[in-house]
């Protein structure tokens, strides 16, 4: 349908976003790469200079490094599992006919509109606080010892908070996919005597596969760089128990002013993100073509 004229017009209209994003991506990345080979400390500039790969060596030998990569992956995978499975179940539930469906949907989606730092604060001070929190109240009600969530199980606590924030997103996307499922197909399957479970496995799940990949892709992007929740709740501790890669880089750059090491960490984070992205993109690319 496109004529030669529209084609060149299209190029022209596409250019601003491509140029902007290219500059936005290439310039800071190049600078980060440059800094990662430098010793650079804004507070103590005497020893600044080229140091080759020693920033990478230092960052790698940091005991927090492997722990932080492990934490990053734990967070991404756990939250993905919870939100995708929970989202499917929740979408199936609120897709049923019921009274007050509109209100139920608003309630389920509401956590998505809470900013991450606020959500973390609410969970920290009112739900998981070992003294005043609701969980502590429930534990005391049953005569149990309240759990100090952020002291004893910091990763679990952060996973719960982040999953709570992303469950609505998954539910919303999956619900939209569910609603576009043809009612007649469902009816035909029912007529042929397919039970609820086989209907779900052979009809609903394949229909939702595209939506599921979109959910996984978009959430992975955001989960790889979770940061506010950790800063607000555990500050990476106790020790390095809940430090993820972005948080470690932040510590190096803004608390210790080791820009060189932080940049090396940033480059490692970019590489990790690209490895994850490579697999995610391939999966999604295949599914999007359908």
């Amino acid at each position: 349908m496109a004529t030669q004229q529209t084609r060149s017009l299209a190029r022209f209209m596409l250019a601003p976003s491509v140029v902007l994003l290219l500059v936005w991506m290439v310039v800071p990345l190049a600078l980060t790469l440059w800094f990662s080979f430098q010793q650079y400390n804004p507070l103590n500039p005497i020893r600044d200079g080229f140091v080759a790969f020693s920033n990478y060596a230092l960052f790698y030998s940091n005991p927090a490094f492997l722990q932080s990569i492990l934490n990053t992956l734990t967070l991404v995978i756990s939250v993905l599992l919870i939100t995708v499975i929970g989202g499917i179940l929740l979408a199936l539930l609120i897709d049923q006919p019921m009274w007050g469906q509109g209100i139920v949907r608003i309630l389920v989606i509401s956590p998505f509109f809470v900013m991450p730092p606020v959500a973390a604060l609410v969970w920290k001070n009112m739900i998981m606080h070992p003294q005043y929190g609701v969980f502590a109240d429930i534990a005391r009600f049953f005569g149990a010892q309240p759990i100090d969530w952020f002291g004893q199980y910091p990763m679990t606590a952060i996973i719960i908070i982040v999953a709570w924030q992303w469950l609505p997103f998954a539910t919303l996307i999956l619900l939209t996919a569910l609603q576009s499922l043809d009612g007649e197909q469902k009816e035909a399957a029912e007529m042929d005597g397919a039970g609820f479970i086989s209907r779900f496995i052979y009809l609903t799940l394949p229909h939702m596969s595209r939506a599921i990949t979109v959910v996984i892709l978009i959430q992975t992007i955001f989960l790889l760089s979770v940061y506010a929740e950790i800063l607000v709740t555990t500050n990476g501790g106790p020790g390095y128990a809940s430090t993820n890669l972005p948080f470690l880089v932040y510590q190096k750059a803004l608390l210790e002013f080791k820009i060189g090491q932080a940049s090396a960490g940033g480059i490692i984070a970019v590489i990790l993100a690209n490895i994850v992205a490579f697999f995610a993109m391939r999966a999604v690319g295949k599914n999007l073509d359908k």
Binding site: M1, P97, M98, Y132, I218, A262, S263
Partner: protein, 187 residues
């Protein structure tokens, strides 16, 4: 097509869904309730009925000028959204209606820029902003937010534009609609 739904089925679904929804909503609900409690009440253990005092609201405004920060948030979000739309609408339009061989790759590449962890490039961006004199300014923050969100905006617009059948646009063009009319009326 409509299937008859038994009342029993509907009742079970309603009860289950409301329980789950209220559980998910609970942290927000409890925050709202607590905001109407006095400091003393707030730390006194689980209590769903507040005394209804408004003193916390008055205090927040008096102590830190809450409204000013609120206004900043509104200006930033509205401003960056408008900026992002100005750049993203033409791009999404051209990719949706005049797709080239590389369109899919460009889309994927745009999304992949979001995968770069923000902290990795934090310091260079700080330096660039310092040299451009954009530090501590709303404009600088607005531009940055716009760039961060641009890939997602393009993606959402693209999927939306794709749903519009091309024939409609062709017909409009035949009838002498300009490009501007096309985007405004159809999009």
């Amino acid at each position: 097509m409509a299937r008859s739904v038994t009342t029993q089925h509907k009742t079970i679904a309603t009860v289950a869904a409301w329980i789950v929804a209220l559980l998910i909503f609970f942290p927000i609900l409890y925050t709202i309730i607590t905001s109407f409690k006095s400091e003393q009440e707030a730390i006194q253990g689980f209590n769903l009925i507040p005394s209804g005092t408004m003193e916390s609201y008055a205090e927040v405004q008096a102590q830190s000028g809450y409204f000013k920060f609120f206004l900043n948030s509104v200006i930033l979000s509205v401003g960056s959204t408008i900026l992002a739309l100005l750049v993203a609408i033409p791009a999404a339009w051209s990719m949706a209606f005049a797709p080239a061989k590389r369109t899919k790759d460009i889309l994927m590449w745009m999304l992949s820029t979001k995968m770069m962890p923000a902290v990795a490039v934090l310091f260079p961006i700080y330096l660039i902003f310092r040299d451009l004199g954009l530090l501590d300014s709303r404009i600088g923050l607005m531009v940055m937010l716009m760039l961060i969100n641009l890939p997602i905006v393009v993606w959402m617009l693209y999927t939306y534009f794709r749903e519009i059948p091309g024939e409609i646009l062709e017909a409009a063009r035949m009838d002498g609609a300009s490009l501007w009319n096309e985007i405004v009326c159809a999009g």
